[in-house]
Symmetry: C2
């Protein structure tokens, strides 16, 4: 398979490139009028996630509209708890809500896991296949999964939280049961990513969105060994690991050995480079709020960030793009990067 714009893949392979590639976390979403139109035509976010045609359509929209260097398959991290047997709803303007949450070992034992669970997600793999057709080899397709801890959070809390204190409390109260659930999640994530790769994604990204509520001790004990197991099981395509807020574990995340390390906006380039080295490929990390500023400021901040990182860098935001970001500003960000030359 020859990808027309293979800048992302060449960067990940460590080849010399003329500029950094760019894509945005949450690029397939509310910032695009085309997305909002599709979203309005279906009965809820989950209907869109489960629609193998429309999920492909919205995945490709930012490639057409923004000219980004990669597509990321539109989905939801919570498809994994669901395929394991824990249903959820998405409440408009409030986010995910699990009618039943994990409370004890019995609840954990009842969950299915691994390939048995992941193979239920046919709509994802079908959607990936449809996306590849629509993309027609213009840019590489990324597939993602939530990391064990972030999924664990939702399964214990039943919804978003500022502190995820119920999920964290479970780690302190029932460490052995927590490990059983984290292992089941890890098995399922591995099977899911392998099936996504089989369906055709060229890169995978692991999102640990709530890593930052933990500390080094908990992250080291419960999470890093499982992230390592996922990395070790995915040998066919490069992996991006993005543990938001986990500055305290950056060195150890680096040692996991993923091809790319996602960096949030809290981490300054010189801090990360000191820990990870100048040749390590990083992805990030413009503050999403810069995209509310005027074009000149967006340009300044973007160029400054690229120069601070140096080469071996994939441009992205340090978090998903906020839904109310003006579209013209997003375009200006993308175009600034595309006209940059090392």
């Amino acid at each position: 398979m020859a990808i027309l714009n293979d800048l992302l893949l060449r960067t990940i392979a460590g080849q010399s490139v003329e500029r950094p590639p760019i894509w945005l976390m949450r690029q397939a979403g509310r910032i695009l009028p085309q997305y909002r139109e599709v979203r309005a035509s279906v009965n809820g976010f989950k209907a869109l996630v489960k629609d193998t045609e429309l999920s492909a359509v919205v995945t490709v929209q930012p490639v057409d509209e923004l000219g980004v260097d990669a597509a990321i398959f539109f989905s939801d991290i919570l498809v994994i708890p669901e395929c394991m047997g824990l249903d959820y709803e998405l409440v408009e303007k409030k986010g995910p809500l699990f009618p039943k949450v994990i409370e004890n070992r019995k609840d954990i034992d009842q969950l299915i896991s691994g390939e048995e669970a992941a193979s239920k997600l046919d709509y994802v793999f079908g959607g990936v296949a449809n996306t590849l057709e629509l993309l027609n080899e213009r840019v590489p397709l990324i597939g993602f999964s939530g990391a064990p801890w972030t999924l664990f959070c939702y399964m214990l809390e039943g919804q978003g939280s500022k502190t995820f204190s119920k999920a964290k409390a479970f780690l302190y109260q029932h460490p052995e049961d927590a490990e059983v659930l984290l292992d089941k999640l890890t098995d399922t994530i591995i099977a899911y990513l392998q099936l996504k790769i089989k369906a055709g994604v060229a890169v995978v990204q692991l999102f640990d969105s709530w890593a930052g509520v933990l500390d080094q001790q908990l992250y080291r004990k419960f999470m890093l060994p499982r992230i390592q197991r996922i990395k070790d099981a995915i040998t066919e395509v490069p992996m991006i690991i993005f543990c938001k807020g986990a500055w305290f574990a950056l060195e150890e995340i680096g040692q996991v050995g993923s091809e790319v390390i996602g960096i949030d906006w809290n981490i300054a380039p010189n801090y990360a480079r000191k820990i990870l080295g100048n040749d390590r490929i990083v992805q990030g990390n413009l503050d999403p709020c810069v995209l509310y500023a005027n074009p000149k400021e967006i340009e300044n901040h973007t160029r400054q960030m690229i120069e601070k990182w140096g080469k071996s860098h994939i441009v992205n935001l340090g978090h998903g793009v906020y839904p109310d970001t003006p579209l013209d500003n997003v375009k200006h960000f993308v175009n600034t990067v595309k006209s940059y030359r090392y």
Copy 2:
């Protein structure tokens, strides 16, 4: 004034002490049945904040019930926006809500500030005086204020937020107007803390609860100079500065020169000690979720934390105690510290 239990003050003064002092952020609050009883007797949280008798009563409750080594005067950080002219409500289970928010320079210009604003907070200063009477010199009384950034967040957003993206966007979009508002806040915080000290608090703590949504550049440009100005203006009593989530600015926070630096649970003791030195007095930083574990685990984590910090340490949580923490566990935490000997 001779304080019977002056362990906190001796620790801050750098004297040799037999064990670390302990108090808890949010110790005067929902964890105590005595607090919940008082709270139920008044018409809302704000009524309690404005009641010079009852605010003193709830301030002293944790001294009686938990045996902590310090009291912290019960109040709300949002009394400052309010005295500057921006009213707010507290919506049950949702938190603060400002009917009107700051949108432009005109809104900022209309706010009063400094002593003119702070002097409106008579109910606080009266409450402090009443607390001192109830305390009867048993333990020192701490007075607190929100830091400029954290107050700015609420004044721009009108409510809590996961990202505070509106407040951050304003820093990028209108940096000069932002500085005017931050200066007005700084003036008011200084006047407020000085009046609190005049009323009798022995220590002050500055809370920058939302520091962690910024990065090093923004924190350095907008916030650190103002925190420095507050520190320089408060010469009469020791100051604790707690910038939650601002690990990226810890070195510069240290350089501000406050007597004590508050540390959240994300920051490991060895990381902080490397940056701040072994003799710097730190306050923190047990993960509040440890208090959901069993007594043995609470004890282990607490003793481990004390040993990792070494001397020059005030025990606290790394964040306010969560309201649903079992009271017996909080007591076990306090007693573990009180029976510890260096």
